[in-house]
Symmetry: C2
Subunit: 299 residues, 2 copies
């Protein structure tokens, strides 16, 4: 199961009860927090996200609306007695800020905080998931992320395996796709005795960015793309001047990248109603949804 | 008019929709923000505090629940185009944190931010108000504040002034308490021709602290004292071990200091209901109120 829960969908200034950016990706029992604007720890409580299951936090860039809530969240984790490791993937200078704040408050966490400076490519890889990082185009260094379920092992069909006399001792190798070679040299093709694993799903997050087609190549074919849409299309010039995107920009990237579904957010505080964001995006990319706070989108 | 509006009344971990510490003192047209826990800018919006009227911010100490919302608030002030000066009174190391965060985000404010490191004694003095600072007793350096309306000029009684032949040119000196000496040497006592100015009110804020009677001497006779009460009286040992106070501690300080009114807050997240805080404090100091979010207490 892959899903994303929106905790904050607004741009820089909180408005209309919309909060700065934060979202939680759920991949089976794993929770990944992406960005952590001010108030994220309250949103986590409000929407009953199990913070003890968050082991990885990803911060796209060091504008405050994407990280000012981080120090509060991790301080509270410490006060609540968390003991399990926490991995933080963020632009390198964030370490200096956090270290300074902890030193001045004389705070020592009861858990280990591992800091991983962002760089392009693979950030995390386990046998269940992988997270990769790509550059986006903002006023300061800024990054996007792709979350992928790693292909699970193939499923053995026991009846067929018995029929072709594949010994149980070879089942593990079968699961990972190997053919079986009998003593007489006959080859039993893997697919004859196994069924394919379910295909892993993928989710991409493109944080604050200018329109740039390079992003499409990075998120090619993902099941769901989140792309910022700070402005409606009539403010294309302002969007570009401020290194942000419009509805048209986001939907065009989704279309070029042939993603299956588009989620749009990071709405400017100048807009109270969001309907037009959806209308304008759907004109170009019909399978678009608004990222709404408290809503979980299954991928 | 002197009043205080509570924006956050909880201790370290936000809980039960209670927020970390922040409050706004209103003195006529001046607003003073005391402490600025995470989410203060949202609380300011929710309770319609006019942020453009805040020219002075006071931070008691550098535990996160008293300042993690500051960088978000002032960043938003900048994004909203504020141009008027802002004075920040805080423990010296906060400057380093703010400077680092601004540098990394490449942020330059459109207003001047003046940083004043806290030290005991007078922090601000104008002809309308004064703010002084005193030490409290916490795990790290921590400070309390006293806000006083400065005595207004006395009111001239024009009938009496004419009757005693005081020339209009002397009225300004009359207002500031001077006697008038006639040409024949006769002294017209000031109080015969003027009425007293209304007495200035005062409000004291004692942030996170151990019980210590020295605090009573610093807040002697104020009209209203805010004193932290993290715990109920049965947790006196825990309170002391964590450099916090109980209901009994706060009420005892109020009693020794002969203040007129006591406001209690900074409640631990372990308590959902607050009734017992009021009961226990009132046993010792009857004129006590709970600091409740969104409520304005007139002094």
């Amino acid at each position: 199961m892959l899903a994303v829960t929106i905790l904050g969908n607004n741009s820089a200034i909180p408005a209309f009860d919309r909060h700065p950016t934060a979202q939680v990706v759920t991949m089976n029992e794993h929770l990944f927090l992406i960005d952590c604007g001010e108030g994220t720890q309250m949103q986590i409580t409000k929407y009953r996200v199990r913070r003890s299951r968050i082991h990885h936090i990803f911060i796209s860039h060091l504008h405050g609306d994407h990280y000012f809530g981080l120090i509060g969240l991790i301080t509270s984790m410490g006060l609540l007695g968390r003991e399990t490791d926490l991995h933080l993937y963020a632009p390198a200078p964030l370490k200096e800020i956090i270290d300074l704040q902890l030193k001045i408050a004389d705070t020592v966490f009861p858990f280990q905080l591992f800091f991983h400076p962002l760089e392009e490519g693979e950030l995390v890889k386990t046998d269940k998931f992988e997270v990769t990082c790509f550059k986006v185009y903002h006023r300061i260094s800024c990054w996007g992320f792709v979350f992928r379920e790693v292909r699970a092992p193939r499923k053995i069909n026991p009846d067929m395996a018995r029929q072709y006399s594949v010994p149980v001792s070879f089942y593990d190798e079968l699961r990972w796709g190997k053919n079986f070679v009998k003593e007489d040299g006959e080859i039993i093709a893997n697919h004859t005795v196994t069924d394919p694993a379910p295909v892993g799903k993928s989710y991409a997050y493109a944080a604050d960015t200018l329109y740039n087609e390079c992003i499409a190549s990075k998120v090619k074919g993902v099941d769901m793309l989140y792309h910022e849409t700070t402005y409606l299309k009539d403010l294309q010039e302002r969007a570009a001047a401020r290194f942000h995107s419009t509805t048209v920009n986001a939907a065009t990237i989704a279309k070029i990248a042939s993603v299956k579904q588009l989620l749009i957010g990071h709405f400017s505080s100048k807009y109270e109603k969001l309907d037009q964001f959806l209308e304008e995006s759907r004109e170009i990319f019909p399978n678009t949804d608004l990222a709404l706070e408290g809503v979980t989108y299954r991928i």
